[in-house]
Symmetry: C3
Subunit: 367 residues, 3 copies
């Protein structure tokens, strides 16, 4: 399938210089069926509220379809089957899958918009900006920064000295990269996120609190996406690492010295404590707290709002506070229901049991 699209790409570029695929070509790629004129040319995808002529839009129900048919879009991707559509339609069974396939292909296919460096951007003379890179208004780029080709730096971003970014990176507005941050290719960081700030390290001594120097940096692999207002702290003495294809949601905290593997999914409000290591393909639900110095294996799943500490083996699903095996957590929930429903029976059971137990408890402690 990849081959098909590469071929299409070349053809489209040759013909037009900008994206232009036919509805029939898209249908073939995403496994849909064309109704109407398969030769209709598509230049982009967008939702019905914002679509323009040449766009393909989408509709999952009759109401949306009616709106899409009245819209300026040139083609409709739809799961609604009917005799005749007001314009070219591509009919599919699974909208999410179809749109995801189409979107990712278009990401590759679409010619990059022309990169321009806004005249208000403050760029050090020693910084090296790649070809066709876009730098927005009021961005600040410090000494010895290297930015790859086709990068897009949003308005108000700060890129600290000696930072290195690969090709096709995108920083939305007001992102801050502290000095010496390293980004691979195709890294996307949403607005307001801060990469490379000092980790939280202090040594209290008597009345004073001494700051531990945070002298490492952050290295982020290829194809990483980081949500809005998230934070990844620089290493204390070495490096905080986020592996390639890993995705962080909004408001995530990654502390100093953390090593996150590849293709890890971390939902919003997750906090990961210092020096924790997380394996590949692990998934962490929203609002989870992971303590410091935790070791989490590959393919681990952590249920939302859990608190994780210690060592979590490969492939395990954990949940709870502190997190335990998910099956055990379900048993605990069953026990909780019993205790809530039969609180008075629990009281009675406890009352009926002679309290020599308390003694044996103490003995156990001393033993």
């Amino acid at each position: 399938m990849k081959e098909l699209f590469t071929k299409l790409y070349i053809k489209s570029k040759t013909l037009t210089g900008s994206l232009s695929i036919s509805a029939a070509e898209i249908a073939k790629f995403i496994g849909g069926e064309v109704a109407g004129d398969g030769s209709a040319k598509i230049n982009d995808m967008s939702s019905v509220a914002f679509c323009k002529p040449g766009n393909i839009t989408f509709a999952s129900n009759e109401e949306d379809l009616a709106a899409a048919e009245k819209s300026p879009a040139s083609c409709i991707l739809t799961t609604v089957k009917k005799e005749k559509y007001a314009k070219t339609a591509i009919v599919v069974d699974d909208m999410k899958k179809a749109l995801t396939m189409m979107y990712n292909a278009m990401l590759e296919l679409k010619p990059r918009p022309k990169g321009e460096v806004h005249p208000t951007a403050v760029i050090s003379q020693s910084a090296r900006i790649g070809r066709n890179a876009m730098v927005g208004p009021y961005a600040v780029i410090e000494d010895d920064v290297k930015i790859g080709d086709n990068a897009r730096i949003g308005s108000g971003c700060f890129v600290g000295k000696e930072t290195v970014m690969g090709d096709l990176c995108e920083l939305f507005s007001n992102v801050v990269l502290y000095p010496q941050t390293v980004l691979g290719d195709k890294v996307t960081i949403h607005a307001g996120s801060v990469i490379g700030a000092d980790g939280f390290g202090y040594v209290p001594r008597g009345e004073k609190i001494y700051k531990v120097p945070q002298m490492g940096n952050v290295i982020i692999g290829d194809n990483v996406e980081i949500g809005a207002n998230s934070c990844v702290d620089r290493g204390t003495f070495t490096t905080t690492v986020i592996g390639s294809s890993t995705k962080l949601d909004n408001l995530v905290q990654v502390a100093h010295n953390v090593k996150i593997g590849k293709a890890v999914l971390i939902a919003a409000h997750v906090g990961i404590g210092g020096s924790t290591e997380i394996g590949d393909n692990t998934m962490i639900g929203g609002s989870v707290g992971v303590s410091d110095h935790v070791t989490m294996g590959n393919n681990v799943k952590v249920g939302g709002k859990s608190g994780v500490h210690g060592k979590i083996k490969d492939g395990v699903t954990v949940m709870g506070y502190p997190a335990i095996d998910a099956d055990d957590f379900r048993k605990f929930m069953a026990a909780r229901s019993l205790l809530v429903k039969h609180l008075s029976r629990l009281k009675k059971l406890i009352r009926q049991t002679p309290d020599d137990g308390e003694t044996s408890e103490k003995q156990t402690k001393e033993g």
Copy 2:
């Protein structure tokens, strides 16, 4: 009461062109009693540390009253009763209520400060800025944006293309609105918040992780206030909605496709998962995590730090992780206390019970 103030408003404007109400008029409106010169003219309210001549300040105890009497303020709102005040005083029983009434009335009464567009703001030629709107230094406003009258856009804000804002909206510094965001009238967003970033949607397939396109937008109703550094993600295919009069605290996360009703109060650090729906007048305590695809009714109350999933009916109060009915949660807490206090008795009880139970457990599972 509203009528009184409208009347006052007209009168004040006619007379002076800027806010000027007498102490007696304020006292009448908030239900207080004037001590001293009721004709003293008030132009604004402020705390004692920052007050200027013409201001009304406030004091809830003798110490604060002494400070207020020495301040340049022209009038003091106070709950401290005494014979004689050093300047005009309005005596009330409930300070919070009095200040809240006065503040909200003054919001309506105070003539809007003159809006100016700072010469450094980068504004697209196709953007339409309303009358008397203020645009701060280094703000960036993209193509086809529409901003209503009397709006205030803080320094360093980014307003993405095709965004629409009603009248009297206020964005504090460094707010980011991604393209196609829609704000009603009187929407206030505090510094650093990000509205309309991509939702967290990925489809893992073998070794690759495909991004689900986030093609919807965010619509925010009238009179919504959003705290600092919060995030509201755009819809995947449709719209993320925040109903009118809803208030979000700081560092709140609202995921893609969420629908929040009217007059909902959401405290700090709350995370709301994708496609969740929340009814009107619901209140959610701090640090709560709401899972994805939750349905929460009207007038629900969620206790702080709870984890909510499933379906919560109208008017219910829930708490815990996972959240259960608040009464049940209290029973569980009673059971926890018993178990902690009598751990050894629990051990004894368990020990005394023959373990054929474990077998029946398995049978239940298989049954």
Copy 3:
């Protein structure tokens, strides 16, 4: 020890005008042993990846040591003992301690970089900027602000009117200080944090929600450090206070009217509810939620992800949701393990207990 460094400082400044200490002097101060040329001059410290001639770098294992020996650094701090090093080495037993001591001393010793006000900074004519202060590009400083000597204001910061900052404060990029914020000396605030936004106060009345005016401010003591993307709200009628030497991590929320004591350590994602008071030297783990109106004593420790309410006495360690004494929490965890392991026995025990209990339970409620 302090005396030694003051002496060194004067000497160094006299000699060179910029930092220049010998390896022998550093070794003496941090209690290490010099191997090689003790007269080697040191001008700064940095990790091996970014070090330059004149720097001291560090290595905790043989591999790092090999890299450090090949680096341009002039001196190596190391815990690895061997016969001969490729360049001057200082050998210590505890790397973290040695680096922390050296870092804090160098902070004092290093001559401040020359402060410059970037020509793009928008600074009110009534603002007073201290000697040798640095103001970055696109910073905005409003009326009547006072900034102390040697301050550093990062790019894109907003400093609201009537704000007062002491000497040697540092704001990283895109920090927002709302009007009337007060910072002591040596306050460091990392990128994206927002100080002084409105607290979350509303009075619902019928269909409308009235905003409680937030008219106080924020006062932050000396030597405070605040992480990235954190929020500290202004007081409602009075002041939100953060005591000197207190440290906040990233994404922390401090609500209105909170009073935090001295030398308190607060980890990431902690939320502190309105009007809560926290004593000196208290430590709060990550993702903790503290309710409003909590009173927490001195030297309290709160385990990660706990939920705290009520009153916590001096010196107590608490944990759990809601938080209880840490010993009790451990007992509860033991009970949880028992219940999970022997769920069927619990069921049996409950089943065997006659349900007159439920009646007595009800009676208790009515009683």
